[in-house]
Symmetry: C2
Subunit: 417 residues, 2 copies
Amino acid sequence: MSDLADTAISPLAPAEFPVLPTVAGVRIATAGTGMKYQGRDDVLLAEMAPGTKVAGVFTKSRAASAPVDWCRKSLKGGGGEAQALIVNAGNANAFTGQCGADAVLSTVEAVAENVACRPSRVFAASTGVIGEDLPAHMIVDALAGMMADLHGGDWESAAKAIMTTDTFAKGAGYSVRIGDQTVNIAGIAKGSGMIAPDMATLLSFVFTDACIPADILQDILDDAVAQSFNCITVDSDTSTSDTLMLFATGAAGEHTAITSADDPALTDFRAVLNATCQELAHLVVRDGEGASKFITVKMAGAESDDAARRIALSIANSPLVKTAIAGEDANWGRIVMAVGKAGEKADRDSLKITIGGVAVAENGRAVEGYDEMPVSAHMKGDAVDIDVDVGVGDGTATVWTCDLTHGYIEINADYRS
Amino acid sequence: MSDLADTAISPLAPAEFPVLPTVAGVRIATAGTGMKYQGRDDVLLAEMAPGTKVAGVFTKSRAASAPVDWCRKSLKGGGGEAQALIVNAGNANAFTGQCGADAVLSTVEAVAENVACRPSRVFAASTGVIGEDLPAHMIVDALAGMMADLHGGDWESAAKAIMTTDTFAKGAGYSVRIGDQTVNIAGIAKGSGMIAPDMATLLSFVFTDACIPADILQDILDDAVAQSFNCITVDSDTSTSDTLMLFATGAAGEHTAITSADDPALTDFRAVLNATCQELAHLVVRDGEGASKFITVKMAGAESDDAARRIALSIANSPLVKTAIAGEDANWGRIVMAVGKAGEKADRDSLKITIGGVAVAENGRAVEGYDEMPVSAHMKGDAVDIDVDVGVGDGTATVWTCDLTHGYIEINADYRS
């Protein structure tokens, strides 16, 4: 039953993988271990120049995976430096007890030996099935081949090697200036289910050759996540393994020294980093399991931005809203329902809902002489825009999600078997 | 596409509607207005003896329907007495602005005139599509016929008249003693989607001929709801219209005067009321849109009972857990994920998960030599039992839900059209 689901590419996928810049100081390689998937690469190794700075954001799950535990510890104790990243797909190494921690340790130690650095400068991520022991030796055995194959920039292969239920490889990146120096940003991501704010089964790795101190790198990453990965949801589920890391090699060539996150020299860089993260996050939504519509929920008039985000997520996570959109049904009553259940302040009698730019409800009821035709036409497209004003304040937020279709059931009722 | 879904009875439905006792002091009648449904009754009128006491619990939605507003006001200002209940199915009279309030008023005024009481003693509920004006005159026009038809106890017809996407009529009730006096309890419910704690699209009306003061009635209803309707979820969505009311006519005949909710004379009555509410709540889950499995999640070892309930609901609401169960896949990793995302204290390394009585995971990993066979066999049945101990305290909770199937998508992607 899942044959189709396993092979069909999301109808919301972009036409092709984008051309991403080469990032000086980063070399990558991929390999196939056969651990779970056959006939494809399932391990990614990235080697970074000595002195590379690193920042990371991880799942808030109370049952975080062994590699997440490791990365958190290394990020804290390792002085904010990184020299390698090792990622595998097919086994999440989550809920694997001491075995899981041992598997991470033996993997990163082997990588550290190969790239000649301390183990705490090796970061690791795993994605796939939860609860099965990770056969670390299969990754270790693949290292020598990958070391020999390290090269400067086949980002598409890197993005492919970390896919699980993803139907297409995800990448985004640009060049931008810091002062007079051109620097490069290239990022990859994977994830299509268990996607909810707070970084659900999502792995994303963004590399830049800018020279930015680790603490500043963390600040600008936190800010980028708040506007991108933490504003998407597919099914409200949160993974044990979410990992977003930003590596800055400093190898682009000398530029203005960066002394704070607010440094005016960083303005363009941050804008481009934010755009890169937002593109990657959108690609994850576009590959949402079973997705047939890309939905943008814009919220205004809430008590605060946080309240706006919570109401927007209540709409974006509502199975009834998502199935109505799948059915191309302009059933805005379900949006009212989702606003109501969010638990945030909202004025029922001044609530305004717009779909595809057409006002459907205002002042606590359907608009006078409401014509469903243009709204229905909008809903037949593959991008659906919902704007809601809850009429109590100035808080705004934008959240992205996809619809809930038979495809989601097909993929998830028969994923592991 | 939804023809099948519209007519097929849930595979989890009981064989037949139960025999419910007659409740002295309550007369009911039903009628068909043709407002939305054709060829079936869609309005229920219940007339209660003067002096009937009433208690109610309503949706926590910030966009509550017009009849919910009315009931809240009447419950507060009406001295806790009721003499009639009018319910319609097919139109929720929610998000209908002043028109909606006017429609309730004209309906209850007409009912009040018919049963000869103050309007504030008439309670009203509506369920169905949100955002369409309620043609109150169609209900009013049906009143004379229903007044002529009032009778003592066709509960099945009453339960049928309030159905929307329900596939079977839902009732529960028993006789019990207060002191030496036999009293009767009969309840009906409707609801199959938009079901989440805090009373999602659920209407339930429970009648008894016991004599219980209004404030005590409210206390025992609150307690019953906490153990029943607030422990079920179908799709995590919360309706604008949830209404649970308990009416006590006092017409059974004289019994020990009840002076507090803790009155020992009430012990048996409360146990039976709780059982009635729990049965009604379970019936709603059994009619969960597209449901093929009845799932019981028992949580132990949480920091508090509230924390246990939140973790249990995180499991019960997880689309990934629900689809795995639909696929009869013993994918307990998704249960770990759902525990992790609940945000409550849990000790990953002493987490224990049992499915169908078989331990599948403990001490932070799969059990040694785990044999999936008996668990897979359990999951092929139509009742799935999940027990989780999060290993940090004494908090416990039980929550009931159903799986997430193609049927849910079929029903909800094409409901209103």
